[in-house]
């Protein structure tokens, strides 16, 4: 039984789990798929069988002797953990993305369905602190919880420091930064204004030509705000990097445009691009969870550990010197079977 579950776990680490599958794999029903092994009938069946097995073993050894009780507790706690895990399926597991200053009252569940929280969460502020070497130091979300338009509670969320409101736990999971730039385009006669946000496509006055905003940086390699554009025409595409502080950069490197023509904002004739202002904002990514089975699992874990320690220290189990097989080196006595009541214990597990 233990090896069967081990093998199923092994399968679970070979096949990528829980993601989208393609080709022949997508035709396997989810309930028997190796790509979702931990929710498949194989795994759930093995878990159920283990519970039955443990329960039967416990019944067999239902005696009031001290070791019998420890064994009962030890194996019973595993059943409790599995039961708690199963209860957890009835819980909540969702995700919120809140742009700074905005509010959200619906979470997105793992299957993509919306879930009404019963209250509104507002992200008052999201801050990201960095170490000197650029590694992330802390992600902090200042949140307000609103009910009926009134603030009913506030919390500061950090990684490893969850918050709780109305029976739902909230976890700092991720963040997203979006940036956009105010740009102008001139063909010598007219001036055209546009807003450049990553992924946006803007048609140019010349027919068949459009620009695609590839990336927006608040600071590109210390040279200030910049935008990377892909100019697509009938003859293919070419890249153009537009810097806000291009005059300052050129003052330092007068031959910049000869070396890097793609940095010249007038290289795509007859147009000249300029970047005026850059704005960026954060959205915080928050996990929302409720697991009614977690307390059962916690109790099971503590009971298991306590009974494991008791078993280790119990005379007769063969681990500490004393009676039974736990003889200190050099000592000897006539007892042949070190633990008579251990026969068949979990034997077929």
């Amino acid at each position: 039984m233990l090896f069967t579950i081990s093998l199923l776990c092994l399968v679970g680490t070979i096949f990528p789990q829980g993601g989208h599958v393609h080709g022949w794999a997508a035709r396997i029903p989810r309930l028997i798929s190796p790509y979702d092994i931990f929710h498949s009938v194989w795994f759930l069946g093995a878990g159920l069988l283990l519970c039955v097995n443990l329960t039967l073993c416990m019944r067999k050894r239902l005696s009031l002797k001290r070791r019998g009780l420890i064994m009962l507790l030890l194996h019973g706690s595993i059943v409790l953990i599995i039961a708690g895990y199963a209860v957890g399926f009835a819980g909540l597991d969702g995700y919120l993305e809140i742009p700074q200053g905005s509010s959200v009252s619906q979470a997105v569940l793992k299957n993509g369905a919306p879930f009404d929280l019963g209250f509104t969460v507002r992200c008052d502020r999201f801050t990201m602190e960095l170490y000197e070497n650029g590694m992330p130091k802390e992600f902090v979300s200042d949140l307000s919880f609103l009910r009926g338009g009134r603030v009913d509670g506030q919390a500061q969320l950090r990684v490893n420091h969850p918050a709780r409101f109305s029976g739902i736990s909230l976890y700092q999971e991720s963040y997203r930064q979006s940036a956009w730039a105010d740009m102008t385009l001139s063909d010598g006669k007219r001036l055209m204004k546009f807003k450049a946000e990553q992924g946006e496509v803007i048609p140019l006055p010349s027919p068949g030509i459009q620009i695609r905003v590839e990336k927006v940086w608040s600071d590109l390699m210390g040279a200030g705000p910049a935008v990377k554009l892909l100019i697509e025409g009938p003859d293919g595409g070419s890249y153009l990097w537009v810097f806000r502080d291009i005059d300052t950069i050129r003052a330092r490197m007068p031959d910049l445009f000869e070396k890097m023509p793609a940095f010249d904002p007038s290289s795509f004739r007859p147009y000249t691009f300029s970047l005026h202002r850059l704005e960026s904002s954060y959205a915080t990514g928050i996990g929302v969870k409720r697991d009614p089975g977690a307390p059962l699992v916690a109790v099971g874990g503590v009971l298991f550990l306590v009974s494991l320690l008791l078993l280790f220290l119990a005379p007769g189990a063969g681990f500490v010197p004393g009676s039974g097989s736990g003889t200190a080196p050099g000592e000897s006595h006539g007892e042949k079977d070190p633990a008579p009541d251990a026969q068949g214990e979990g034997g077929r597990a």
Partner: protein, 267 residues
């Protein structure tokens, strides 16, 4: 002197002790055993000093944290734990044989940590996910568990020659049983503290991340070892063989999983 230099020197002290132990075993000179033991004790003390020095250095850099946060630091601690358990827990004649296995392994881990270009040994600040009081207790218990399983597997190799019966006072069989059980207790605490931490950080105590899944596989294999051991009342060849499968599982949980995508990429 930096902690890195100390750890480098310790590598050679362990190698020297290993050389002495081989000489002792081949020549049959019993007194060599004492020399090996005390050389290993000296190396172990310097090893502990190296770990504390690195801890101190991290505070001097203004990013102080317990040195258990990346692959380099975990290798150094794993090696230290293995030597600790051997020095403290293994007594009698069998110690000379166990030393001959443990010392080169400890040196190899330190050598790999110090000299492999693939192992980053600079002190890095903690990313937000690792900034938790659970880090130290989770890593320490897991690695003490790994180390005890490792020492048990050395006894497993010794016991493959024939059945060991603890009730007849066979020290190898008794120490094997204790190592497996101590490893199982530490590893269980490691898994439990890890799940408490995961609940605090991500809101799920168990997420079938490859590291978690392989920890469960290792745990199940050692549960099987313990069941076989108690059922038969002695350390049969089968039990010894199971413990070697367990060691492979430990090694995969520690090293192999890094090649699978998951959340434990830093260790």
């Amino acid at each position: 002197m930096s902690s890195g230099t100390v750890i480098g020197v310790v590598t050679f002290v362990y190698l020297g002790a290993f050389f002495l132990s081989i000489v002792g075993l081949v020549s049959g000179k019993k007194e060599m055993g004492r020399l090996v033991f005390w050389t290993a004790v000296a190396g172990f003390a310097a090893h502990a000093a190296g770990i504390f020095m690195r801890w101190h250095e991290s505070y001097a850099l203004g990013i102080g944290h317990v040195p258990l946060s990346n692959f380099y630091e975990s290798l150094v601690f794993f090696s230290w734990s293995t030597v600790l358990l051997t020095l403290v827990g293994v007594r009698g004649q069998v110690r000379d044989v166990v030393m001959a296995f443990i010392l080169p392994a400890a040196a190899l881990m330190l050598g790999y940590a110090s000299f492999s270009p693939g192992v980053e040994n600079a002190i890095q600040p903690l990313i937000p996910a690792l900034k938790s009081n659970w880090l130290a207790i989770h890593v320490i218990t897991c690695f003490l568990g790994y180390a005890a399983f490792f020492v048990a597997s050395v006894f497993g190799i010794v016991l493959l020659r024939g059945d060991g019966d603890p009730s007849r006072g066979d020290p190898a069989a008794l120490m094997f049983s204790r190592c497996v059980m101590i490893g199982f207790i530490f590893f269980t605490v490691g898994i439990l503290t890890g799940s408490v931490w995961a609940q605090m950080a991500w809101g799920r105590y168990w997420g079938w991340d490859p590291k978690e899944t392989w920890a469960l596989i290792t745990w199940l294999v050692y549960a099987a070892v313990i069941h076989e051991r108690i059922k038969g009342g002695r350390v049969s060849k089968r039990v010894a063989l199971f413990s070697l499968i367990g060691l492979l599982s430990v090694l995969f949980t520690y090293f192999g999983v890094n090649y699978l995508p998951g959340l434990h990429s830093y260790l």
